[in-house]
Symmetry: C2
Subunit: 86 residues, 2 copies
């Protein structure tokens, strides 16, 4: 496989600047950063006493929870497709 070109950008998440490096487009990386920023701000509204480390952990927890739900959905859709194709 040819080596893919890497994109590098700086993004701001919850008041801190992070350097992101990846093979995805910078648009995709900015979108991911803005979703994390939004999630952290939303959680902080409901938990104003949390420090930013715990806030970020809860953001990761919520994202992983959604991730597992989506994985289940993918499994169910694949199963349905398989039945239709058989």
């Amino acid at each position: 496989m040819a080596e893919q070109e890497k994109n590098r950008i700086s993004v701001e998440i919850y008041g801190h600047t992070y350097k992101m490096v990846g093979t995805e487009t910078t648009g995709h990386m900015r979108l991911v950063a803005s979703i994390v920023d939004d999630k952290m701000r939303e959680i902080s509204v409901h938990n104003p006493s949390l420090d930013s480390a715990k806030l970020a952990v809860l953001t990761a927890v919520n994202s992983v929870h959604e991730l597992l739900q989506l994985k289940e959905q993918v499994g169910a859709l694949e199963e349905e497709l398989k039945k239709l194709k058989d």
Copy 2:
């Protein structure tokens, strides 16, 4: 809709204890916590100088990136199903 019973547990993520409350099973909540803990430890191996707040933010970033990929996959599968059903 009847009010769902809420489960409450304490979980440990990257050396800190968090109280989780949710309508999911405690097994699901423990699984989510252990995935976040694993992701944080994996990222810390590659970025040993990061403090835990930034580590948690990067964990959230990785999870949201995976989330977007799965959403695309769900969209593609739904499209394929729709075509087969029409």
